[in-house]
Each structure stands twice: as structure tokens, then as C-alpha cells.
């Protein structure tokens, strides 16, 4: 997450003149660098690829040999996928998959909306105690979420929210907000004050400035944080385990995955197939949105 911080240093380099970019291009596209990149890419992808191959192998083959033996002895079966998806005989991951979607979308939208508004206030509205309050919010990131689990759950139970999606939505929003406000605040601060002044001269109030000037410029930042938060929520196990106390009705796919291998770990051959069902969404999102992901991290304000 801290990778977002270097943005201020990258910014001057990126907007420098043409010679710098061509210099960088020449330097970066050296054959050695390409080779290194390729090797790293292969090394990093190999385990996932092995997992994919494993997920199609029969139980006995998975339990006795490594996935690479697939190439000398190709046996393909869909049994593992049947076992994890079938809701009667198997784990029935389908309904957990839906739960995960139902959990993720509000858990991204709530903090995103609140954080954008809060970040605007911290960046461009002067009010007493602003810096202190911002410091407090920034400091909240240091609080490990584990210490809040039992008190928070107690509050939910008292409020009658236990065993509903609300506990998970609210928890993810709470845990996501400090970082979201901090990140978006930094992006907003980088927008030149002259731009806002010009808008103000034209008669725009806070609402108009927020929606018509800042939001379009903030798109990459919003996309970046949205993807961050989405991946975090989708892959989260701890928050779901603690707060989704309602059993199968509200538990996300990560909880189902954790239980997939069986009480004494005898069904671990199903894990590769289960993992692939679970990563469809994050991988799709990442592949299609990686442009925004990188741009959101690196790009400055006015370039948009």
C-alpha cells in the first residue's frame, strides 16, 4: 500500500522533456533488462500456472505426484471443479461466490464515497483543528484491526446487526477509511490551487468544484483505491470469519475455501480448484484494469 507514496518523486521525472523519456526508454529496453523482466515474470507466474494444471488433475495424481508430471502423463478431469461447485455433494462454492460479490461491492463503494468527500474537506476547506484531525485519521492506520474485533462485534450485537451483511460492509468500510482518506487527500492536494480558484471566480461553490472539477481529475486515484479495496475485501478471511457469524448465508468464498480441505485436511486436493474459482474475479479485474491501477499509483493530478 505504501507504494502510493513515491508518487511525488515520480511526478517531476515523468513530466520532464522528451530527452529524458527517450533516455529512460533506451535504458529500460536493454536486452538484459528485458531478460530479467521475463525471468521474473516466469518465476512469478509458474506457481499459479502449476496450481491451474493441478486443479484439472485427478485426486490420486495430485496426491502422489507434482503438477509437472502432467506433461509426461496428461490426465485431465473436471471432478475437482464439480466437487467444489456442486452444492449437494460438494462444497457449493457458487452461493459463497455470490456472497463475496454482495460483500465486496458495498465494501468498496461506502469507503470510496465517504473518503472522497472527507479528503476534499481536508484538502480544500479550512476549518479549525483540520491538521490535528487529519493527523488523528492518519494515525488510525497504525491501529491493528485485530484489536478491534471483539469490541466491534459487541457493538454490532448490541445494535442488532449481527449475522447480516451489514457487519462486514461496515467493518471493511471502517478499516479502509483511514488509508482511503489519506491517499485521496494527497491526490487532491496535488491539484494546483489555481484551478480551484479559477472555478471559484467563475462562481462555483464547494459542490460544483467537487463534482465538476475534482472528480474528473481524481478518476485514476479513485480507480486505484477502488481496485485496492476490492482485492483486499475479496481476499479477506479474518474480518469475514469474525463478523459473518450467520453461517452459509453471509459467509464469503474465502471462508468456504478455508474449510474446503476438510476437518483433518484429507481433501486438500480440492484447494487448487477452489482457489481458481475464487480468483476469477480478482484476476479479471486486475487484467482489464491494470492500466488504471498503475496510472492511479503513479500519475499526478493535472495529467488525469
Amino acid at each position: 500500500m505504501t507504494t502510493a507514496l513515491p508518487s511525488t518523486e515520480v511526478l517531476p521525472a515523468a513530466v520532464k522533456d522528451e530527452t529524458t523519456t527517450s533516455y529512460a526508454k533506451r535504458k529500460l529496453s536493454s536486452p538484459w533488462a528485458s531478460l530479467a523482466a521475463l525471468v521474473i515474470a516466469i518465476l512469478w507466474t509458474l506457481p499459479t500456472f502449476g496450481l491451474l494444471v493441478s486443479s484439472f488433475r485427478p485426486e490420486r495424481a495430485i496426491k502422489t505426484t507434482g503438477w509437472w508430471t502432467f506433461f509426461s502423463d496428461p490426465q485431465v478431469t473436471l471432478d475437482n471443479y464439480k466437487a467444489v461447485l456442486d452444492s449437494e455433494e460438494g462444497a457449493g462454492l457458487g452461493s459463497f461466490f455470490i456472497n463475496s460479490i454482495v460483500i465486496s461491492i458495498p465494501s468498496v463503494l461506502i469507503p470510496l464515497t465517504l473518503a472522497t468527500i472527507a479528503a476534499y474537506a481536508f484538502a480544500w476547506i479550512k476549518f479549525p483543528g483540520r491538521n490535528l484531525l487529519f493527523l488523528v485519521i492518519f494515525a488510525l492506520q497504525i491501529v491493528p484491526l485485530q484489536v478491534t474485533l471483539i469490541p466491534l462485534l459487541t457493538l454490532y450485537v448490541d445494535a442488532g446487526l449481527a449475522n447480516t451483511f451489514w457487519t462486514i460492509w461496515l467493518s471493511h468500510s471502517i478499516f479502509g477509511l483511514p488509508l482511503a482518506i489519506y491517499l485521496l487527500h494527497n491526490f487532491m492536494r496535488e491539484i494546483p490551487a489555481t484551478l480551484l480558484e479559477a472555478a471559484r471566480v467563475d462562481g462555483a461553490g464547494h459542490v460544483a468544484i467537487f463534482f465538476r472539477v475534482l472528480l474528473p481529475l481524481l478518476r485514476p486515484a479513485l480507480a486505484a483505491f477502488g481496485i485496492f479495496q476490492f482485492l483486499w475485501v475479496w481476499n479477506d478471511l479474518l474480518v469475514a470469519l469474525t463478523f459473518a457469524g450467520g453461517g452459509d448465508a453471509v459467509a464469503p468464498i474465502t471462508v468456504a475455501l478455508a474449510n474446503l480441505s476438510g476437518t483433518r485436511g484429507t481433501a486438500w486436493h480440492l484447494l487448487s480448484a477452489g482457489a481458481f474459482v475464487s480468483i476469477i474475479v480478482p484476476v479479471t479485474i486486475f487484467l482489464f484494469l491494470q492500466r488504471y491501477f498503475v496510472r492511479g499509483l503513479l500519475a499526478g493530478s493535472v495529467k488525469g
Binding site: 461466490f97 455470490i98 460479490i101 479513485l222 457469524g245 476437518t263 481433501a267 482489464f288
Partner: protein, 455 residues
């Protein structure tokens, strides 16, 4: 983020994701409607007479929270079916592998389930200490008096108040062996500890490494050794001393402990005896408990001390029976007359006293349920005396059930499960692992004694 929807790639991504979601969702919906049809079909064939006493519980729900997940959970759900169908109640079963930590979180935060299946008396005490648990109703207490021994009732009792009826049970005092090897080599199943020693020496004389063991089990690495030690504690010093030892009325570094651990060492730290098919003495620390008994099938190991549930670790085609590929014999007592059995089990602890929860609790403490559950599952037994062992099909389950119901058996619960968590699931495990990799017995018991929390 919405402004981006102009992008074709994003739209593609969304379409892909949503598409997958719809397909999975449709699959989930269609199959769930199928299952409800099956339920109604099977209801007709059940004799509801024994369930009359529970009354009409239509529209009520009881939630059950447990650490038992697939594939063992199916037998639980199936065994609840007759009760559900006859009383109209809905049992919501929630299995979670992180049960042991989450149940404490949920109990402390005031969000407990109606009923929890607790696998350790130690955890049971912790849960009762949260103040959220409710004592067992009189019917359950009466059933436990009728179907279980006083020792089992004591494990479900905290500070003189009876809370939880026993559910399943497992027998740990078993030694796995290969019946065909015994037959070919002319070995006989030992009936005393001395005979076990003689048998081991005989195997060594036959140029075999008799014993195999493995204690690696993630963060619980070391637990199989605690079972070894408890078994020998129980045999060498007797059940009364064992109870004192578990409750820390005698120190962990006393002469009894030292003798028990040394007796274990005579087997497991003897390079001539271990580690068949797996390596030397130190390989015990690195072999996982799941794989440690498998060399029996390959003929490289002859004896493996492990609980009845180990049967599930053999490959599916293995025949587990007295005339099959592997089977187990009772780890003998000091002499042929005493029959101490070390075991484990689960307890049904309630957090609510609504009538439907009470009724369900009562149902679970009957012999009716024990028999239905035992027939629905593989590798599950109960210490319930009403369990008809002739109907238990699985040979190893039958052996365990017979052991538990034998009147001359002295049952004792796994000691480390009853000790405070700082010792029972932490210090002992670590010290035992150090012990097997070279630490001497005195240092080991001294270190465990030091770890005992001050009262």
C-alpha cells in the same frame, strides 16, 4: 470509478465477471431447489414416534456451530434430519475450521450460536467462564446419567454445574499394525506392556525397524507425543495419579512424569526401534502425523501408535479390518487386567435455553441419536452406552466402541486438552518437539512446569 465505464475493456471485464457470477449463482439456486425436494421425499419414511416427546417446534431454528467440516459434517446433518422432519424445527449447521478461536470471540462479543460442539474440556471451561453458556437442562442430565459413565459427565461439568453432554468420542490408545505381517511372521498381539516390549525386540531381531511416528502438524507440532506420554502416564502411575497430574496437583516435573516420558523415550528415542520407513529418530519431528503411519502399508514399519481417527488417512482402497491391510490393537496396560483407555471427544454446549434448543440438546443426548449418527458416518463413535455396537459396520469403529463400553475399561480424557492453553497447546508441544530432537527428559519436564500459569 464509474466514469471509466466508457472503456471497452472495463465493460468486457464486468461482463466476464458478472457472467461467471450469474452462472455460479444459477447453479447454486437450481441445485438448492433440488435438495428441498429430496427432503420432503425422505420425511415420509421416518417413524416419528420417538420424537413425540419433543413436541411441535415448527418454524423454530437452532443454530449449531462446530469445527467439524466436510466430509464429516454430512453425517451430522443427516443425523439431524429425523429430528427436523418430525418436530418441524430447522437446524442450521455451521462448520468452521477456525472454530476454536472464533467461538471464544463470538461468545465474548455476545454473538454465540445456540449450540456449540466443543472438542476439549479446557475450551469448555473457557466458554463457561465467559458467562454466556447455559447449564444443561434436567432431561439432558438424566440422559447422561443413564447412558454415560460418571467420568464422562465430569468432563462436561464446570465448578460443580453440569453444562455439556458428550457427543462423539475417539480412542487414542491404539497401535496400528499390519495383520498379514503379524500372521506371516508369527507375531501375536501383546496384552501387557512387557509383551509389547518383547514383541518390539523380536521385530528388531528380525532386522526390522518396528515403530514409526511423526509429530509435524503445523502450529500444533508435537501433539502426538503428548498422547504417547499421557498413555504411559496412565499405565505406569494409574488413573488417580493421572488426574492429579492433569489438574496440576502434582508437579509436571515430578518422578511420575519423568518415568512416563522416559518410558516413551525407550521406544521413540531408541535408534533400533524407530523410525521405520521414514528415517532416524530426528525424522519423527519432521514427518507429518498424517503420513507417519503409511509405511505400514509398504512393509517398512510394523507398529504405529495413533488414535482411531487415523483410519481416514489410509488411501481409500485400503482395507481397514482384522483380516485386511491394516488394523489396530489396544495399546496394552501394565498387566492384562487393567484396561486404561486414553481418548478424546466432543461436548454439546448450549448458549440459549429456548425450548427448541433444550429439545435438540436432549435429542443429542439420547441413544436414538447416537445410533443414527453412528450408522450415518464412517469413523465416528460415541461413548453412549445405548450405542448398539453390532450395528457399527466399520471394524475400527467397532473395536473402539467395544473398548469404550467394556466395563473393565478406565477411560481418561486427553490430558493436554484439559490443561491450561499456555501449557496444553503450547509449552508441551514445543518442549516435546525439542525432546525428540535431542533435549533430555529433565530439561523438558522442567520447562513445561515453568510454563504453568500461576494460580
Amino acid at each position: 470509478m464509474f466514469g471509466l465505464a466508457k472503456s471497452r475493456r472495463l465493460r468486457g471485464a464486468l461482463a466476464g465477471t458478472v457472467g461467471v457470477g450469474l452462472v455460479l449463482g444459477a447453479a447454486a439456486c437450481s441445485s438448492s431447489s433440488d435438495s428441498s425436494d429430496d427432503d420432503t421425499a425422505s420425511a415420509a419414511s421416518i417413524d416419528c414416534a420417538p420424537y413425540k416427546t419433543f413436541g411441535d417446534l415448527k418454524g423454530k431454528t437452532v443454530s449449531v456451530y462446530t469445527g467439524i467440516v466436510t466430509p464429516e459434517d454430512k453425517a451430522y446433518k443427516d443425523s439431524y434430519k429425523p429430528f427436523e422432519d418430525c418436530t418441524g424445527v430447522t437446524i442450521k449447521y455451521e462448520g468452521d475450521k477456525s472454530f476454536e478461536t472464533q467461538i471464544l470471540v463470538r461468545a465474548k462479543a455476545g454473538n454465540p450460536p445456540d449450540l456449540a460442539i466443543v472438542p476439549q474440556p479446557g475450551l469448555l471451561k473457557q466458554l463457561v467462564a465467559t458467562g454466556k453458556a447455559v447449564a444443561a437442562p434436567a432431561e439432558v442430565s438424566a440422559n447422561v446419567d443413564k447412558f454415560w459413565g460418571a467420568d464422562w459427565k465430569a468432563y462436561g461439568t464446570v465448578d460443580g454445574k453440569f453444562y455439556a453432554a458428550p457427543s462423539g468420542a475417539s480412542v487414542k490408545s491404539l497401535v496400528w499394525y499390519s495383520p498379514s505381517e503379524f500372521k506371516d511372521a508369527g507375531y501375536t498381539v501383546p496384552t501387557t506392556l512387557d509383551e509389547l516390549k518383547t514383541l518390539t525386540d523380536k521385530m528388531v531381531a528380525d532386522k526390522k525397524k518396528p515403530w514409526c511416528a511423526g509429530i509435524a502438524s503445523g502450529e500444533a507440532t508435537g501433539w502426538p507425543l503428548t498422547d504417547w506420554m499421557e498413555d504411559f502416564m496412565l499405565r505406569l502411575s494409574g488413573p488417580e495419579t493421572y488426574d492429579k497430574w492433569v489438574n496440576h496437583e502434582i508437579p509436571f516435573n515430578g518422578p511420575e512424569s519423568t518415568a512416563a516420558l522416559d518410558a516413551v523415550g525407550a521406544y521413540l528415542k531408541n535408534p533400533a526401534y524407530v523410525n521405520g520407513g521414514l528415517g532416524d529418530v530426528k525424522s519423527i519431528a519432521t514427518a507429518t502425523f498424517q503420513e507417519a503411519g503409511l509405511p505400514i502399508l509398504e512393509g517398512t514399519c510394523s507398529l504405529h501408535r495413533q488414535a482411531s481417527f487415523y483410519a481416514a488417512n489410509f488411501p481409500k482402497e485400503t482395507k481397514v479390518a482384522e483380516d485386511g491391510d491394516v488394523f489396530a490393537f489396544y495399546l496394552p496396560g501394565k498387566d492384562a487386567t487393567s484396561k486404561p483407555v486414553l481418548g478424546g471427544g466432543e461436548f454439546n454446549l448450549a448458549f440459549a435455553d429456548r425450548p427448541e434448543v433444550k429439545a435438540f440438546q436432549t435429542y443429542l443426548s439420547t441413544d436414538t441419536w447416537a445410533n443414527i449418527k453412528a450408522q450415518a458416518s464412517q469413523g465416528w463413535i460415541s461413548a453412549n452406552k445405548g450405542l448398539d455396537t453390532s450395528k457399527v459396520s466399520n471394524p475400527i469403529d467397532k473395536l473402539s466402541a467395544d473398548l469404550l463400553q467394556n466395563p473393565s475399561t478406565t477411560f481418561r480424557f486427553d490430558g493436554s486438552d484439559q490443561m491450561p492453553a499456555a501449557v496444553g497447546s503450547n509449552a508441551i508441544f514445543k518442549q516435546m518437539t525439542n525432546w525428540i530432537t535431542g533435549q533430555d527428559t529433565k530439561t523438558t519436564v522442567d520447562n513445561v512446569e515453568k510454563a504453568w500459569p500461576a494460580k
